[in-house]
Amino acid sequence: MNGNRVLGIVFANIHEEALDTLTAMRTMGSVPFSSRFRLIDFPLSNMVESGITKIGVVTNANFQSLMDHVGTGKPWDLSRKTDGLYLLPPFSIGAASIWGNRIDALYGNMNFLNQSKQTYVLMSDCNHVLNFDYSKLFDAHEESGADITILGVKGKMPKNISSVLCFDKVDADGRITEVSLDKDTDDEVFYSCNIMIMKKYLLETLVTTAHSKNEVSYQRNIIMSNIDKLKIYAYDATESFVGTIDSIQSYYDISMSLLEKDNRKKLFASPISTKERDDMPTLYGANSSLTNSLVADGCIINGTVENCIIFKGVKIGEGTVVKDSILMQDTVVGENAKINCVIADKDVSIKDNVELSGAPTFPICLAKNTRV
């Protein structure tokens, strides 16, 4: 895939309702994940590794942490004179101009689309954690002669987010012939990851038409209603590691699933870049005991840690036992505390002797800066 041919669009704010406390002060894209990343690192790195050189990040409210994180795009080598990273907030601020939905957001950025010289557009949200070489998707798209090719996976239907498309019938050659939206089922389905590629002019046409008819649902009005008119193909990415985050619970489960070596191998198969902060290596003290855990740089571990995801700069005091938990950046746990099934957001501080216990099916979520 010659990167000059494909424009990347990342939607940073989609599905924030699913993560509640974690997205109270940030976009979906800036939610911390897997010890040292943010969710947007995955679509950005996938795009860049596939050769894409121009990416627009569509954002809405609360984009300060996102702006801090992606900054000038340097970590992804997107700090360029020509092309590179473009942050696309709603520039003209007024009552009606915050992107209400995906069609609005795309329509509001029509100028950005028009002025980009690329022939194709590849769009992605931030709630699917995966490592995928989009040039495969591009090749499949080219070979099949499809108008739109959508990446999908087979698995349990995501329940807590809306507008999830299921590919109910797919031809032998990959063409989708029947779809449904937000299916109520516990069976395994073939559902869309909302990562799709098409010609730029097609997207421009579809969005302009939908906008002029005052249509509001990208999935319903652009994809579903065109299923007969356009050649819409599915690309099955089930073999890759794909984590669909649709709730705090799935965020927790997907995080924990990376304690399995196979999953890690798949998710970090090609480099995932992120903003670095130059921490020292993690130091383990004389009485530390750590098992089955993922740990980033900059931590000082003096206690016992089991089945945990530990982010940068976490400090765990002597005598403390942390199990089945996710501790985000710079969380500090004092001495002799007991922590069980907890998700602690950035800069949480837990005093000596505190006991906190959730369940694997109900992790306790502590908001940023909480003092316990």
Binding site: K261, E276, D278, D279, L283, S289
Partner: protein
């Protein structure tokens, strides 16, 4: 009140570092990995930017490829700049022929044009083989206040070791009146750290004079400093307190590594107001497995640890398999220690592979003859085959299979 670029730092990174043996066979000494996340050159470079010095010339002529590659456009150190930034300065050819750098002073002499371009007031001369955190801005203030021609940073060393260093004798007001290289009978215990601040006009004058002096070794310590002292220039010793270690030998490199996990050593790498910057390997977090045991150690990102690690420094992307044991050792990026292998008091260089049940080094207490003691070093990319024993003090060359 000065504008930008009134200070240029020149980092002498050219030495072959032959005392580091197999570790510097293919790479320049400043590019040798250190402390898990770093390379030696990260320390002087981070000192520069933390001191507000954003114009740095790195002088190198020996195996610069990996160093150049590591420095890249300077971005990890915030030195990717339009004005100033990092510049790798190799020897070049001019009309009249080409010359390699002859000595430290000659290396700077050959780059007078580079420095002159920025027209600085002060030039800081640094070397690329010391681990320390130092605010050069304070030293420059000291230099200014003393209206000095040259200021040399000094560290008080134990008197019994003083004869191993360049020793400066000073007045009460820190003015230097004598400099002696490795004196048999030291007059002071103030050792030169190899960090100099010069007023540029003075330095330029003495560099040109030295270049025209027949028989000069063109060296700062041997020629420039003594000549300036003789000429009666105002030269001062800037007292430094804190951690400082020369990592020019295998033993000192090994010690300096273990210092980062020693709580009694005054080297704080977690200080957010004085970060040590480095090029990050873009690895996932490290994983500590179900049967691993890690204590008194540092582990960097990208590692997969299933074995036992104690009193060791494990760099990024290292794999330590189940049943393997690493004690009092330094393991550099990308190395693999396979099942059941033992690594004791050793340095394992980048991408080396220690196969199943091989054994590197020995615990000193278990040695029959303590005379045989020494840190074994496994060169980068070398392979130690299954069950093989590498004795203490042995060096295995890069890429070799033993």
């Amino acid at each position: 009140m000065a504008r930008k670029n009134n200070v240029v730092a020149m980092l002498l990174a050219g030495g072959q570092g032959s005392r580091l043996g197999v570790l510097t066979k293919n790479i320049a000494k400043p590019a040798v990995p250190y402390g898990g996340n770093y390379r030696i050159i990260d320390f002087p470079l981070s000192n520069c930017v933390n001191s507000g010095i954003y114009t740095v010339g790195v002088l190198t002529q020996y195996q610069p490829l990996e160093l150049n590659d590591y420095l890249g456009n300077g971005q990890p150190w915030d030195l990717d700049r339009q004005n100033g930034g990092i510049h790798v300065l190799s020897p070049y050819e001019a009309i009249g022929g080409a010359e390699w750098y002859k000595g430290t002073a000659n290396a700077i002499y050959q780059n007078i044009n580079f420095i002159q371009k920025y027209d600085p007031e002060y030039v800081v001369i640094l070397s690329g083989d010391h681990i320390y955190k130092m605010n050069y801005a304070k030293m420059i203030d000291f230099h200014k206040k003393n209206d000095a021609a040259c200021t040399i940073a000094v560290l008080e060393v134990p008197w019994e070791e003083a004869s191993r260093f360049g020793i400066l004798a000073t007045d009460d007001d820190d003015k230097i009146y004598e400099f002696a290289e490795k004196p048999a009978e030291p007059k002071s215990n103030k050792a030169s750290m190899g960090v100099y601040v010069f007023s540029w006009d003075k330095l330029k004058q003495y560099l040109i004079q030295d270049e025209n002096t027949e028989g000069s070794a063109n060296d700062f310590g041997k020629n420039i400093i003594p000549t300036m002292l003789d000429a009666g220039e105002r030269m001062f010793a800037f007292p430094f307190k804190g951690y400082w270690k020369d990592v020019g030998t295998i033993d000192s490199l090994w010690e300096a590594n273990l210092d980062i996990i020693n709580p009694n050593v005054d080297l704080d790498l977690s200080d957010k107001s004085w970060r040590v910057y480095s090029r990050n390997p873009m690895a996932p977090p490290h994983y500590i497995g179900k049967n691993a045991k890690v204590e008194n150690s540092s582990i960097s990102e990208g590692c997969e640890i299933e074995g036992n690690v104690d009193y060791s420094v494990i760099s990024s992307n290292v794999t330590i398999e189940e049943g393997a044991e690493v004690l009092y050792s330094v393991v550099m990026p990308g190395a693999t220690i396979k099942k059941g292998a033992k690594v004791y008091y050793a340095i394992i260089a980048e991408d080396a592979v220690i196969e199943e049940n091989a054994k590197i080094g020995e615990i000193p207490e278990k040695l029959e003859n303590p005379e045989n003691w020494g840190i074994p070093v496994i060169g980068s990319g070398a392979t130690i085959t299954k069950g093989k024993y590498v004795e203490p003090g042995v060096m295995v060359k890069s890429g070799e299979e033993v």
